[in-house]
């Protein structure tokens, strides 16, 4: 009951990719998904990866999350850091309630029951879903499900959050609200976020830094700092200007494949 602290276990949260290469298949069938990607993400930094189809954005997150192995290169996370991963679909367990879902990582870490209860309540408060703890995922809207998924990922107490187009399937208004929520939680908990999206405006709204990946194979071709003070609005002219710049680069890259 006593420890309901929200600070991550590890003070680190840096992510370093060194010449990361990923090849799928073998021989003639081999496909180069990622080609020598090097990237340093500082602790507490919010990085958005943007790219067209086939740029290996999701592959990259899977590798950082440890769900897949690199074919070459290295990924360095802080000592004992297991990044949390969120998907476009909430991936909530339909057989559990909202509370039950958030509790899973706590159970897997062997936390005692009383402490689990307190942590679940605290996490649901964080995502404004305290009243919905007894509901099942199918009884919630898409945006609410993503907030439950966020709470479940936060229950890992990890300093690194990997997000794979988490708001891609939501309507614009819900997405705006979730941008605000994510920004708040990110700054409160001093998280490192790597956020994959194909929505350039979303990237400009959220990121400290936007990184553009080329397609087939995925390579870093452009990177820009977003120097707009927070809180931001997705419909502000500054954000629009940055989005336009990134979109131009993205179009040039996509056009390269048409020739």
């Amino acid at each position: 009951m006593t420890s309901t602290t929200t600070t991550p276990r590890s003070a680190t949260g840096s992510v370093a990719l060194r010449g990361v290469t990923k090849v799928y298949g073998q021989g003639d069938q081999a496909v180069l998904a990622l080609d020598r990607v090097s990237l340093d993400v500082a602790p507490g930094e919010f990085v958005c990866l943007v790219g067209a189809s086939g740029c290996g954005k999701s592959t990259l997150l899977n590798l950082v999350a440890g769900l897949d192995r690199v074919s070459g290169g290295r990924i360095d996370l802080g000592e004992g850091v297991n990044p949390g991963l969120m998907f476009q679909e909430s991936a909530l367990f339909p057989w559990l309630t909202v509370e039950g879902n958030v509790e899973v990582p706590l159970k897997l870490r062997g936390l005692p029951r009383a402490e689990r209860r307190a942590r679940v309540a605290e996490l649901l408060r964080t995502v404004h879903l305290s009243e919905f703890g007894r509901k099942r995922p199918h009884q919630l809207s898409g945006g609410m499900r993503q907030r439950v998924a966020l709470a479940r990922t936060l229950a890992l107490d990890t300093p690194v959050l990997l997000m794979d187009e988490p708001f891609g399937a939501l309507d614009a208004m819900t997405r705006d609200i979730l941008h605000d929520e994510l920004e708040r939680i990110w700054s409160e908990r001093k998280l490192t976020v790597i956020f994959v999206t194909h929505n350039v405006r979303e990237a400009a709204r959220l990121a400290d830094r936007i990184i553009l990946l080329s397609s087939r194979p995925g390579r870093i071709i452009y990177s820009t700092e977003v120097d707009v003070p927070r809180p931001r609005r997705i419909d502000s002219p500054e954000i629009a200007a940055i989005a336009a710049e990134v979109t131009d680069r993205l179009r040039t890259e996509v056009g390269r494949h048409g020739q």
Partner: protein, 294 residues
């Protein structure tokens, strides 16, 4: 420009909860319990009444003599006497025990077999299709072999019950494990579920609906095999329901024969309904019944 109005517009909590309330409004319309029960019950009652009326009509038509085909009135009257006698309850006890033991053994074998085939590629290639083939074998065709192996004993009955029911259970497990959504497995692994924990927290619950469907089908096979077995393998000291059915035929007691058949039918239906209720409860929890998403 007008940046001071654009920036710094944090969402209020009211806005968030307002959107939540709007989005989930009207999702939980449930008709009253009485209504639901009645709308599920009356077609069954009507069908039952129709079946009994047809039966009575056939009897009245004089197609068969009453000693070959008795009418519903004497049969239900005898069922009343039968229900008050110890013969029914002792027979039911024997049969129920056999059903429980046989089905439990079939479930154990089916779960292990299904899990092994779902996990091990070589096993799947070797016996995956044989499990389905085994299901098509009529259980009564196993009895000559069972009687050779175990003589006229309960073991012979259990042997056939397990052979009849285990493939269905195994198929349910295989199907369930095969169709666990890969996204849930990835999510589970990311949340720290590895090895056995991945099975406990993700694979087993995700496969549960298919496993219950397998159990339901397995029960139907087990019950049929058991009845076939009790008709053939009559052990004089233990008057099971099936044995009593055989005696009724041998003693030319058509009324009792029909009464026993009704008992067999009812037991089968009741247990099947229990599995059906479990299946429905799971699907309701998962939200598969109203297809609300996820």
């Amino acid at each position: 420009m007008a940046s001071d109005t654009l920036a710094g517009a944090p969402r209020s909590d009211a806005e968030i909860s307002g959107l939540d309330a709007l989005e989930i409004a009207g999702r939980e319309k449930v008709p009253s319990r009485v209504r639901r029960v009645w709308s599920a019950t009356w077609p069954k009652l009507a069908a039952l009444a129709l079946a009994i009326a047809l039966w009575q009509a056939v009897v009245w038509s004089g197609w068969k003599d009453p000693w070959a085909l008795p009418g519903p009135v004497p049969v239900f009257a005898d069922l009343g006497h039968y229900a008050l006698s110890s013969a029914l309850w002792e027979g039911l006890a024997t049969t129920a025990r056999r059903a429980a033991v046989g089905f439990a053994a079939a479930v154990a074998v089916g779960l292990l077999l299904g899990l092994a085939v779902a996990r091990v590629k070589v096993l799947r290639a070797a016996i995956g299709s044989m499990i389905t083939a085994l299901q098509t074998m009529p259980s009564i065709a196993w009895f000559p072999l069972a009687i050779l192996l175990f003589e006229l004993s309960e073991q012979a009955i259990f042997f056939v019950v397990v052979l009849g029911a285990a493939p269905s259970v195994a198929n349910g497990v295989i199907h369930g494990v095969d169709y666990v959504p890969p996204l849930l497995v990835r999510a589970g692994r990311n949340l720290g579920a590895r090895g056995l924990n991945l099975y406990r927290y993700v694979v087993a619950p995700a496969a549960l609906p298919a496993i219950v469907a397998g159990l339901k089908q397995g029960w139907a096979f087990a019950w049929r095999s058991l009845m076939a077995g009790e008709l053939l393998v009559v052990i004089a000291s233990r008057t099971s329901i099936g044995a009593q059915l055989t005696y009724a035929r041998e003693l030319s007691d058509p009324v009792r024969l029909m009464a026993i058949m009704i008992v067999i039918l009812v037991v089968g239906i009741v247990v099947d309904a229990a599995f059906g209720a479990a299946d429905k409860a799971i699907r309701r929890r998962w939200g598969v019944l109203d297809q609300a998403g996820n």
